[in-house]
């Protein structure tokens, strides 16, 4: 969504002031974009308690790098890029020190949920069913490699378009489509493999 012109001009002024060495002008930029950054972190990392600390690190990184921002992409996209890269590094560090047990849904629960989700959509599910479904998708996301997790998180949870993801990750649109396709396929193969092994 495009920002109103006046709002954009105001933002440009803040950015230029920070670039000239006025740190106080960074505060309104943080306030304007914090919701987006918090959302990206939460959807990619899924650790509610860590979100604020990670957001601080991201904004500090942005503050230190702001002199290099040249207005080629929007400030929001530039900031999202920093956020996504930071989350990506965080996930890679996390993954190397973690082994997770995959707790799948029982067959009955799965069939029931499949039927309901297919018939009525996720909105119609009760809180218990939603929790089971969330747990199911969450566990699959946690098992996914960092690359898949980031791209699926941006598409399915952050609801970015393929073009926006391409802009954030600095990739071609076709590459993003291929990566999304592969990520979904790998995730489903993982489900089938684990069910086969049970």
């Amino acid at each position: 969504m495009e920002k109103p012109k006046a709002e954009g001009a105001q933002e440009v002024q803040w950015i230029e002031r920070v670039q000239r060495g006025d740190p106080e002008s960074f505060a309104p930029l943080v306030e304007r974009h914090q919701r987006r950054v918090f959302s990206i972190i939460y959807h990619l990392i899924r650790r509610r308690d860590d979100v604020e600390d990670i957001a601080q690190e991201i904004f500090i990184k942005a503050f230190q790098a702001i002199r290099g921002y040249n207005f080629e992409s929007s400030f929001g996209t530039w900031l999202s890029r920093i956020a996504v890269n930071h989350c990506y590094d965080y996930l890679r560090r996390l993954r190397s020190s973690r082994v997770r047990y995959f707790g799948d849904l029982s067959d009955d629960a799965r069939l029931k949920l499949e039927a309901r989700a297919e018939r009525e959509g996720a909105e119609s599910l009760d809180s218990e069913e939603r929790a089971a479904l969330r747990d199911y998708a969450n566990r699959l996301m946690e098992r996914a490699p960092a690359d898949d997790r980031v791209i699926l998180g941006l598409k399915e949870l952050e609801d970015f378009s393929v073009d926006e993801i391409a802009d954030i990750l600095e990739l071609n649109v076709s590459t993003v489509k291929v990566r999304l396709h592969r990520a979904r396929k790998r995730m489903l193969l993982d489900v089938k493999k684990l069910r086969g092994g049970q």
């Binding site: 740190p23 106080e24 918090f38 959807h43 604020e52 230190q64 996720a122 939603r130 969330r134 995730m187």
Partner: protein, 161 residues
């Protein structure tokens, strides 16, 4: 339609509405139908996850960020200044050492700063002159000999040649 083509459509489908040909294929192919069910379940799970409330920033978050950013910049600046200061001193010390070394190389190997040289006969060599003097005067004028006082038994001192 072939399963391979249908799979591509299923994985990339943006919505649950599928074309008639794909739906026909799903009715006839349990493998593709199973894949579609799994994909829909997964998508439903993602929908639930996406609706989870995102944590809000606590009060004063932006002020904290600005404060920490400034201190991070200050820390970087002091580190840079320290490195610069130490570096400058190191460069000065290196320069001084190099200059001293070059000066030492450039100075002549003898002279008032270095002491006498073998090649400079006008400077008196004390040890050599002493031995020459002894040779010229001979034993008859050997009053330069050392005379050790000897203590006599009766207490008076005698000179011994």
């Amino acid at each position: 339609m072939r399963c391979k083509d249908v799979e591509v459509i299923l994985y990339d489908a943006e919505s649950v509405t599928l074309a008639e040909t794909v739906r026909e294929h799903l009715k006839a192919c349990p493998h593709c139908a199973d894949t579609w069910k799994e994909l829909r379940l997964l998508r439903a799970g993602f929908n639930v996850m996406a609706q989870d409330p995102v944590p809000e920033a606590m009060l004063g978050f932006s002020a904290r960020v600005v404060r920490r950013s400034e201190s991070a910049v200050d820390a970087n600046r002091s580190a840079a200044e320290f490195i610069e200061r130490v570096g400058r001193r190191f460069v000065l010390a290196s320069l001084l050492l190099t200059m001293s070394f070059l000066l030492a190389l450039a100075l002549p190997s003898s002279g008032p700063l270095r002491g006498p040289s073998k090649d400079e006969p006008y400077i008196v060599q004390p040890e050599q002159n002493l031995s020459t003097e002894v040779t010229v005067l001979g034993d008859d004028y050997s009053d330069t000999r050392t005379v050790n006082p000897v203590k006599s038994t009766n207490g008076s001192e005698q000179k011994q040649k």
